[in-house]
């Protein structure tokens, strides 16, 4: 037996950490006397928490199974081959943890070639093949189905997609060739490029069927049975599968490609290579034969898999999907207090948005308070209005709407907080005001009520200092808009207790937010870094750099928006306030900008005005505010100053122990500032561009974490 094991070990290139997906084959008697089908189940032997994926071992298992069924097809023992997945999962595609270990272009190309070599056999068996897409199908999981002759899909499939471009890859096991040739270029590009770049959007089984990816759709209750009945009818000629003819006119393809390129430009601005590789491959798919199409995919994969953008993307993906679920440094979940009622101090827009979110996610009573009845009424009315909108959109039922409406009430008397387990304040951003509010709240709430502050820049420690129970105060910093932005910075003051902290993390998780633990320091992580970065851009303008030069200097990073667009979103007055706070704290690094001060003082909403044709321009009013600096910078100078400033600031934050590690800085930038995956947040980019080494004297992340291993 040992010999056998060794032989197998040698011939099966299973990487050590691969959870190998087996290709289990069983014969099924097709209904209606259509004959025997060899039905392959892709199953990694784990439950639904571990989706089936393909690494080298899984591909080898599939290869071996396909060899057997090909022989049996030739021997006339089977009339067809079926392919399906374990319950709820068809297949989640390539095992990317293994892709991250690829070090050479040759290895990468071989991985692509092996996938092609195995999967294409499904279309070359000598008998028809049927993919029965019973559950989630992603990436290579979609591609393996595309190689089959026919496809059915379950109406219960929650997600089907080709997310590769989102991570910095392309669908390289046949997707860019087979999909456009099945559904046409426009739909294919939507799935290959637009959806992944749109927060990795996926489509449902129903949408996939409508798009022509599947030939037939059946309800989940007896999906496989009905798929087999359908397959039998196809095999016996009772059902003829008709697919629309693909228009191969070059102009049609180019129009679709141009449309998709516009989407890619809007998202990554030409910076990340993956979507553009995908565009080229889809263009090729119009004329290329299968061999040429697949070979081009192999070459593209070889380029991309070693690209820093993909390594950063994969790193970012793991942060967002793993680290964000288990926040580093958070105390034990068991310490969290149950939250059965919440108080919100302030009834302004932010406070009202918070009240709505607490009511929706925690499903507990929420009381809003403010100084006068008019503000309270306005705040409550806002929440009730939003609930009405959700109801009108069909997002919630009438019962749920009435429950939510009943949960949110208002009062001018903080005594209404008497029974609250958590009170969060969102009042004016001034220390004396916040201290006053907490003192009043402490007078009415129970001893163990947790007090949270949504401050974006003030000290938690100082805010708690005069309270009887300062350990109950914890920072809970949302980003605007509260309902949309996925990040909450949870701030630990000097005296903040583990119970308060654990409760904050538990509440954050229930709000479906990703939480990062931050020590009490001015402006925490996201605002501090954005302010520092913005400070350099504004300083350049103060020095006489034309605004259009300063504002486009960062374009090569592919950020979600330019610095001045961000300034407009935040509001010049708020940005000025945060800037002043940070200037007071760290005057040597955070300057004050004359230009910003003038814009804020003039009450202007933005640097750029928008012309009738939608193009931005500098109004005379703003132009008049430009400082007459005599030392204008080039774009390169602005960019390197801004990035060096970022690196310096991150280096200081890390050595001050503000967060557990650089991963938390990146998580904050990904989720709080929307910085792109291809930068890995920020530190992978600062490492790979050499800026970290130059400014801080070391890399932030070891080689191999968000880069090709040494």
């Amino acid at each position: 037996m040992s010999t056998q094991t060794e032989t197998r070990g040698a011939s099966t290139p299973a990487a050590p950490q691969e959870v190998v997906t087996q290709a289990l084959v069983r014969d099924v008697q097709l209904p209606g006397g259509a004959g025997v089908m060899a039905l392959i189940t892709m199953d990694n032997g784990r439950d639904h928490t571990r989706p089936t994926s393909f690494g080298p071992g899984g591909l080898a298992a599939m290869d071996a199974a396909l060899t057997r069924v090909t022989e049996r097809a030739a021997a006339g023992e089977i009339v067809a081959v079926g392919l399906t997945g374990k319950p709820f999962f068809f297949c989640a595609g390539a095992d990317l943890t293994l892709a991250a270990t690829t070090r050479t272009a040759q290895e990468a190309e071989q991985a692509g070639q092996y996938g092609h070599a195995v999967f294409r056999r499904l279309g070359e068996l000598g008998v028809p093949s049927f993919a029965f897409v019973n559950g989630v199908a992603l990436g290579g999981g979609v591609e393996v189905a595309l190689h089959c002759t026919y496809r059915t899909i379950s109406g219960g499939v929650p997600a089907l997609g080709l997310p590769e471009v989102f991570l910095g890859l392309i669908p390289g096991w046949g997707g860019t060739y087979l999909l456009p040739n099945l559904v046409g270029p426009a739909k294919a590009l939507e799935i290959i490029i637009a959806n992944p770049l749109n927060n990795s959007r996926t489509i449902s089984g129903i949408e996939a069927h409508r798009a022509g990816i599947a030939d037939a759709i059946f309800e989940p209750a007896d999906f496989l049975e009905q798929s087999l009945v359908w397959a039998a009818a196809v095999l016996t000629g009772q059902i003829e599968v008709r697919r629309p003819e693909i228009d191969r006119d070059e102009a049609v393809w180019e129009a679709a490609l141009a449309e998709a390129k516009k989407v890619a430009d809007g998202k990554v601005n030409g910076v990340a290579p993956a979507p553009y590789e995908a565009l080229d491959l889809v263009r090729l798919a119009r004329t290329a034969d299968r061999d040429a199409g697949f070979a081009a995919e192999d070459a593209a994969i070889a380029r991309l898999i070693l690209s820093p953008e993909f390594r950063s993307g994969l790193y970012a993906f793991n942060l967002v999907n793993k680290r964000a679920k288990r926040p580093a440094g958070a105390p034990s979940r068991d310490l969290a207090r149950p939250v059965t009622s919440v108080g919100v101090v302030g009834a302004g827009l932010m406070a009202s948005q918070m009240a709505l979110l607490f009511a929706r996610r925690l499903q507990v009573p929420v009381v809003l308070t403010d100084l006068d009845q008019e503000r309270v009424d306005k705040g409550v009315a806002y929440v009730h209005g939003e609930v009405e909108k959700l109801l009108a959109k069909g997002r919630i039922s009438a019962d749920a709407a009435s429950r939510l409406t009943g949960l949110v009430t208002g009062s001018t008397d903080k005594g209404a907080f008497a029974g609250a387990d958590v009170v969060i304040e969102a009042v004016f951003e001034r220390m004396d005001v916040k201290k006053q509010v907490f003192a009043e709240v402490e007078a009415v709430v129970a001893e163990d009520c947790i007090l949270m502050t949504n401050t974006s820049s003030l000290s938690i420690t100082e805010m708690a200092a005069d309270l009887k129970n300062p350990e109950r105060v914890v920072g809970f910093h949302f980003f605007n808009p509260v309902a949309v932005m996925p990040l909450v910075e949870i701030v630990k003051g000097e005296r903040t207790s583990d119970v308060a902290l654990a409760t904050a993390f538990a509440v954050g998780a229930k709000l479906k937010k990703s939480c990062v633990l931050v020590k009490d320091a001015p402006a925490f992580v996201v605002n501090r870094l954005l302010t520092r970065f913005m400070g350099e851009v504004l300083a350049a303008v103060d020095a006489g750099t034309p605004p259009e030069v300063a504002d486009t200097a960062l374009d090569p990073l592919g950020l979600p928006m330019t610095p001045f667009t961000l300034l407009q979103l935040v509001g010049p007055a708020v940005a000025l306030h945060t800037g002043e706070t940070l200037h007071e704290a760290f005057p040597e690094r955070f300057g004050t900008s004359t230009f910003l001060a003038r814009i804020a003082e003039a009450g202007l909403p933005a640097v750029w005005s928008t012309a009738a044709d939608g193009k931005p321009y500098l109004s005379d009013q703003v132009a008049a505010l430009l400082p007459a600096g005599g030392t204008p910078l080039t774009v390169e100078q602005v960019r390197s100053r801004a990035l060096e400033a970022l690196a310096e600031e991150i280096g200081i934050m890390l050595s001050d122990g503000l967060v557990v590690g650089p991963e938390d800085i990146d998580l904050c930038m990904l989720l709080g500032a929307g910085w792109p995956f291809h930068l890995g947040g920020v530190t992978p980019y600062l490492d790979r561009s050499g800026i970290a080494e130059r400014v801080v004297g070391r890399r932030f992340l070891p080689q191999g974490v968000a880069s090709v291993p040494a």
Binding site: L24, V25, R26, D27, V28, Q29, P31, L39, I40, T41, D43, G45, T84, K86, P87, E219, A221, D222, L224, E225, L228, V229
Partner: protein, 406 residues
């Protein structure tokens, strides 16, 4: 509410292939409730003219109503099958006659005007729920000798029936069993069984997905000499063996019942008309004799005699219990009218599901035997009962004339 009773018709019945209980069985890793769901969906698929919201109740029987047979299985199966949420459902239990009782109970509801259309059926996954799982017999049963302890072990009750009727020998039982296997094999060869089977996708962690399309228990080609040497597990030197009894099985059944006028309104086939039914109790130690008094009672209540019955579907829990019934009514062991396509000894008896299987097969026999006017479905029931349901054949020339009082 109408002042008079309405006619109830059997529209259609289906079942899953029956499997052998246990780790190696067909349904080892398939849920019991999913078996029911497949049956309900097949009924709906076969009768697209039936608006699902017209179903007034879903009665599903199971002997052990926990785990994947719990949670008010009729209601849950209806939801899982995708019937509208407005369709109610319930769980029902009369041991082996669960599905039969689901039919008689809901049929009575139709007759009195509470329902127009119902789904009735049953399930037993004896692999997941071995007989007696979780039971807690009252200690008074032993203390007061209310029932002999053998009454709770069905094989022992069958041995007790042998004691009561010494003329029913092991050889007669084995011969009956051989015939049951042969009749089923012939029916399979002619394609008569398959047409009412619902294929079931069966998932297995180590083997992947398969498809159940045929019964697993049958042993075609069984001969007397194969059975002669089998062990008698219930009693040393006893007579009851695995060969002359039904096995331990997994499976589900379901049927559509409707009032005759609703069936006509919706264009649903009326394949049998319910004439009447009865249940009767006997000593639990000899539960196998139950069909005798229940049939006598059903005949008496419908004004029929045993001679009016042209076809019998009697459940074969044990050959001895069938032979006791046949002896009582003076019917030969190999009478062609009795279980013409074989029975549970060959194809299995997933307890609470079997009643509807009997009816589904009788409905098929009615189609090919228009000369037969009345048929009987009957079964013995654990803890000492029998159940009998008499049906009329709509294909008979006298159908609808001079009906006996229901």
């Amino acid at each position: 509410m109408p002042g008079s009773l309405r006619d109830v018709v059997f529209v259609d019945g289906v079942r899953t292939p029956f499997g052998k209980a246990g780790e190696k069985g067909l349904y080892a890793q398939t849920r019991a409730d999913d078996l029911v769901v497949k049956c309900i969906r097949e009924l709906m698929r076969r009768h697209p003219q039936l608006p699902p919201e017209r179903i007034d109740d879903v009665a599903i029987a199971a002997t052990t109503q926990i785990g994947d047979q719990g949670l008010t299985i009729g209601r849950m199966a209806a939801l899982l099958a995708g019937l509208p949420k407005s369709v109610p459902g319930f769980a029902i239990d009369r041991m082996c006659a669960g599905a039969m009782t689901a039919v008689t109970t809901t049929a009575s509801g139709i007759a009195c005007g509470a329902y127009d259309v119902v789904i009735a059926g049953g399930v037993e996954h004896m692999g997941h729920h071995p007989m007696g799982e979780g039971v807690d017999p009252n200690p008074r049963i032993v203390a007061e000798r209310l029932v002999d302890t053998s009454a709770l072990v069905m094989g022992q009750t069958a041995e007790n029936v042998h004691d009561r009727y010494p003329e029913i020998t092991k050889e007669r039982c084995d011969a009956y069993a051989v015939a049951s296997q042969a009749r089923l094999a012939a029916a399979y060869a002619a394609g008569r069984i398959q047409r009412d089977l619902v294929p079931v996708a069966t998932r297995h962690v180590e083997q992947g997905w398969g498809l159940a399309t045929a019964d697993e228990p049958p042993r075609p080609g069984t001969r007397m000499e194969d059975l002669a040497t089998l062990k008698t597990p219930f009693r040393p030197h006893g007579r009851v063996t695995a060969g002359n009894a039904a096995g331990l099985n997994d499976g589900a059944t379901a049927c559509l019942l409707a009032s005759a006028d609703t069936a006509a309104e919706l264009g649903l086939p009326a394949r049998m008309r319910l004439v009447g039914y009865a249940f009767a109790g006997v000593e639990p130690e000899v539960m196998g004799v139950g069909p005798v008094p229940s049939t006598e009672k059903a005949l008496a209540r419908t004004g029929l005699t045993i001679d009016d019955i042209g076809l019998f579907e009697i459940n074969e829990a044990f050959a001895v219990q069938v032979l006791a019934f046949l002896d009582h009514f003076g019917i030969k062991d190999d009478d062609e009218r009795v279980n013409p396509d074989g029975g549970a000894i060959a194809l299995g008896h997933p307890l609470a599901s079997s009643g509807v299987r009997l009816m589904t097969q009788l409905a098929r026999h009615f189609e090919t035997n228009p000369q037969v006017r009345y048929g009987l479905t009957t079964m013995c029931i654990g803890i000492g009962m029998g159940g009998s349901v008499i049906w009329e054949n709509p294909n008979h020339s006298d159908f609808g004339k001079e009906r006996p009082a229901a």
